[in-house]
């Protein structure tokens, strides 16, 4: 099942949300930061535990490299294959939680 995370249309932000699935209940924090040249990077925390720091946000590429969350997070361009840009968060670029997305580790 896919869910959209509501973001602010600003370059640098911290956003928290809760996920409940078969694996349990998780509090997720995502810090998004706009870089001068390299687009957008994200830090992801699950229940306060850092999972990844400074991961480049690329269209449809998973942010998490493990399955701790029971699913994965990624940005999706609804109208193409461009990497996310904060000006069009929620409208064109969605931060998606996909509960069925398992990475092979």
């Amino acid at each position: 099942m896919k869910y959209k995370v509501n973001l602010l249309q600003i370059p640098n932000q911290e956003v928290s949300f809760n996920i409940e699935n078969d694996k349990g209940f998780f509090a997720v924090d995502v810090n998004l930061r706009k870089m001068p040249t390299a687009g957008l990077v994200a830090d992801v925390f699950i229940d306060g535990v850092p999972q990844i720091y400074g991961r480049r946000c690329v269209d449809r590429m998973p942010l998490l490299l493990n399955n701790n969350l029971g699913g994965n997070l990624y940005f999706e361009d609804q109208f193409g294959t461009i990497d996310p840009d904060y000006h069009q968060f929620n409208e064109r670029f969605l931060l998606v939680y996909d509960s069925a997305y398992e990475v092979s580790v």
Partner: protein, 178 residues
Amino acid sequence: MLIDAINTLWSSIRGAQYAVFEADTSKVVFVFDTIEELEFRADSSITSYPIESGVLKTDYLYRNPNIIEIVGRTSKKSLLAQGFNFLTDKESSIQKINENLTTYTQGIYNLNIQTKIALRKGFTLQKFTIPENLDTYGMLTVQMTFQEIMGMETTGTALKDEFNADTISAGIVQLLRL
């Protein structure tokens, strides 16, 4: 004609005048006996590059800062001042203008300029000239050039690049099912 005259009279009564004042504090910066001339200029630059067929291809236009030029005059001892010496202190007024000219050319100050046509916001004093010749004898004449401050928020604070913007907490947000 009559309407024009009434309009002029009404403007005089309402005191529609030129003023240069600080945007943050509304402090009036320059007080002259008269503003002889004020000119507002706006322009932009168009860039181009040569292409193989031997012409320049226009590709972009960017706006240059707006310019306001003001010529202000203050007499050392105006007729008004002679009559009401106890009300006006011309010497200190001239001194004040000189002090402010020096001060306001030494940094970026966010100034608003009220003209008879419009209120122009966000200018800083770029340069000034005080000519002393036969025409200006016995009178302080100042030619001032104000330039628009581009990309400034408040006095001396540059707009941050977007990647240097403060991190804002969006709080706990809802997940919406797709």
